[in-house]
């Protein structure tokens, strides 16, 4: 029983950054831009959040600065894919490589090796009781951010314009919607959520920064968005599934029955679960109409 509760607690905590970043990716992809810079943006958010919360002595300020940094990274993607119109795969991978290298560069300048320092971090609510004792950001993700994004995308003029730009930019343009402006907006807002997701890793979960902090979670988010078919709640569900796999893995790894199984196999399990989920539910999905296509007025 306590083990089940531990798995569920872990599931919610692990899913939180994926909910933020995954929904950020939903927003950008719904506008027709694949942002493969997500891995780098999360890394940037984690690093900047860590630095800022140390410098400003407040975890919340750190999170805010991380969101601004994420928005800036989104604007960079916008410059490349919207204004210039380069191949989105290449722009995204390039952005990720650039951001990760830049963070590592600054990190090395700040501290020449040695153990990472601890910064102010968030604490869990409700005295860390099982399952409900979560970081405030977890509640924010599941009960505020996800419903609001779902509502904005589904029921507001802004959401309709965003989807129109992602499905048929020509039609949206003809109807008077600015395609570049909409996409920039989607990329910066989405980038801010990716930065927030990254910051959660340092400012809430660990309170410190390490070079392998994101370790492919951004790629997981890309998979979750496909798995969730660009819809808000299925993507959140995918994040919870990943979180469940990781929580289960952590619990099983410490039981005596599986003591002989190498730890790395457990660590690989969530990635394999995501690939398996894609195989089962990711077939024959319908991509947004303008996915990967730069828009240029004729």
């Amino acid at each position: 029983m306590t083990q089940t509760l531990a798995v569920l607690t872990m599931m919610l905590t692990v899913a939180t950054p994926l909910v933020f970043a995954g929904l950020g990716e939903v927003i950008t992809e719904r506008s027709g831009v694949l942002n493969l810079g997500i891995e780098g943006t999360m890394y940037l958010g984690a690093f900047v959040g860590f630095l800022a919360s140390g410098a400003l002595h407040s975890a919340w300020w750190g999170i805010l600065v991380a969101m601004l940094a994420g928005a800036a990274a989104g604007a960079l993607m916008g410059l490349l894919t919207v204004t210039v119109g380069v191949n989105q795969h290449v722009a995204g991978i390039g952005t990720t490589l650039l951001l990760v290298a830049a963070c590592n560069f600054v990190s090395r300048l700040k501290s020449s090796g040695g153990a990472s320092e601890q910064v102010p971090k968030l604490s869990k609510l409700f005295g860390s009781t099982a399952v409900i004792g979560q970081y405030p950001l977890t509640y924010l993700a599941l009960f505020v951010v996800a419903p609001v994004i779902w509502w904005v995308l589904r029921s507001t003029g802004m959401g309709l314009k965003l989807r129109a730009v992602g499905e048929s930019p020509e039609a949206a343009d003809a109807a008077g919607v600015s395609v570049p402006l909409t996409r920039y907006l989607a990329l910066t807002v989405g980038g801010a959520f990716m930065g927030l997701g990254g910051a959660f890793l340092t400012v809430a979960m660990l309170g410190s920064f390490s070079l392998d902090i994101v370790s492919g979670r951004g790629w997981v988010c890309i998979a979750l968005v496909i798995f969730g078919r660009w819809k808000v709640w299925p993507t959140v569900g995918g994040a919870l599934l990943f979180g469940f796999a990781e929580g289960l893995e952590k619990q099983l790894a410490i039981t005596t029955t599986f003591a002989s199984v190498p730890n790395e196999l457990w660590l690989a399990l969530p990635y394999i679960v995501v690939v398996a989920a894609l195989i089962i539910w990711g077939r024959g999905v319908r991509y947004p109409g303008a996915y990967l296509k730069a828009y240029k007025r004729a």
């Binding site: 490349l80 290298a101 560069f105 730890n263 195989i279």
Partner: protein, 390 residues
């Protein structure tokens, strides 16, 4: 076009004999050819100008962080681009550093050419290294030719096998290969770590790396330097692939599949088959790169066997315009920058991550500049519309 010119033929011309060059019949043909040659030359010159502008932009952008780190940008660029080339030892290091990039760059180029986005070169490189290591640890006494052939072949097969999953999922079920190849990268790293922390841990030191391979698994060295035969293997592969793609019907079909899959399908080309094969070859080349790296350089498997080689391969392939010459030159350039960055870390205390920043910035500025070069200001368009310029 030329044969159907409106002018009547000045006399009976034998059917297979072309009219002389100064004949009025040939004039339009020659003019068209000249115009095409001029246009092609202009295109190339434009691309060159764009790339040069991108290089200048990269230098301008990276000067800021270099200065912020307390180093002189001019001195830093000299270390990155020139100092390694001033000594034989430096050139040797650059060639060694460029070898894995040749493999991963070629791997990515083959896949991209077929329109298959293999972003998993990192994982394929790692499992290739694992495959070669498995052979080296289990058959330490094999004679050298057998040992090396087996190790490299198993490495390549491991790369193919690792790629088989995304390739099959893409061609059979249409599951996006970008995601699956990406997700398998951290898994491959965990495979390496699991083996190094488990069965392959060094029993003498207790460190997370394998024991050193027996001598029969060391790739022969060239010219009495540390450059190993892997460089020749890589160059041979690049040249052979380049020639095959450029001259054979299969190569033409491969390009058609990548550039216009719909048209390729309509003209009876097995698009999925070509993509599957290109993807598997791509995985094999990356895996071979990993095997060459353990047999040629480290002679043992370590956690850091791949310094982001798979991801950098994407930079190499894209900047090299997916061509054999381009991939070779860019791999050498990035090898140079990588070695220069290590040198600058020692002599200027500039973190070697600067090298990665430079290559990523170069990638972004070059792809952007190659698009921007087709931009024309509004007054230019008006001028062209009036017929003032061509």
């Amino acid at each position: 076009m030329s044969v159907l010119t409106p002018e009547p033929s000045p006399g009976p011309v034998p059917p297979k004999l072309r009219p002389p060059k100064d004949s009025p019949q040939r004039a339009p043909q020659i003019a068209a050819r000249r115009a095409a040659a001029k246009a092609a030359w202009l295109r190339r010159a434009g691309a060159l100008v764009a790339v040069l502008a991108a290089v200048l932009a990269t230098i301008a952008v990276t000067a800021g962080p270099i200065r912020a780190a307390g180093a002189n940008p001019t001195a830093a660029y000299k270390r990155y681009l020139m100092v390694p080339l001033t000594s034989v030892n430096g050139v040797v290091e650059v060639l060694i550093a460029a070898t894995p990039l040749l493999f991963t760059g070629l791997a990515v180029a083959i896949a991209f050419k077929a329109g298959f986005y293999n972003i998993g070169g990192e994982g394929q490189f790692l499992v290739g290294a694992v495959g070669a290591t498995a052979v080296a640890l289990n058959l330490p006494d094999a004679p050298r030719p057998v040992a090396l052939t087996t190790a490299l072949a198993v490495g390549a097969i491991c790369g193919v096998a690792w790629m088989a999953i995304p390739a099959y999922l893409r061609t059979r079920f249409g599951i996006d290969e970008v995601v699956t190849t990406l997700l398998l990268n951290p898994v491959a790293l965990l495979v390496v770590q699991g083996l190094l922390n488990g069965p392959w841990r060094n029993p003498k030191t207790g460190f997370a790396n394998t024991i050193e391979f027996s001598g029969s698994y060391a790739l022969p060295r060239l010219f009495g330097t540390r450059v190993h035969a892997g460089l020749l293997v890589a160059l041979l592969l690049v040249v052979v692939t380049g020639v095959l793609v450029a001259t054979t019907a299969t190569g033409l079909r491969l390009k058609a599949v990548g550039q216009a899959p719909g048209a390729a399908l309509a003209s009876g080309i097995d698009v999925k088959g070509y993509q599957l094969k290109a993807a598997l070859i791509s995985g094999g080349v990356a895996g071979l790169g990993g095997a060459v790296q353990v047999c040629g350089v480290s002679h043992q498997l370590t956690e850091s066997i791949s310094h982001n080689y798979g991801y950098t391969g994407i930079v190499v392939a894209t900047l090299g315009a997916l061509s054999a010459i381009g991939v070779t030159l860019v791999a050498l350039l990035l090898g140079l920058i990588g070695i220069g960055a290590e040198k600058a870390q020692v002599s200027l205390h500039l973190p070697s991550y600067m090298g990665e920043i430079m290559s990523a910035t170069l990638l972004l500025t070059v792809v952007a500049a190659l698009v921007i070069r087709f931009w024309r200001p509004r007054w230019w368009k008006r001028l062209v519309a009036k017929g003032g310029a061509s």
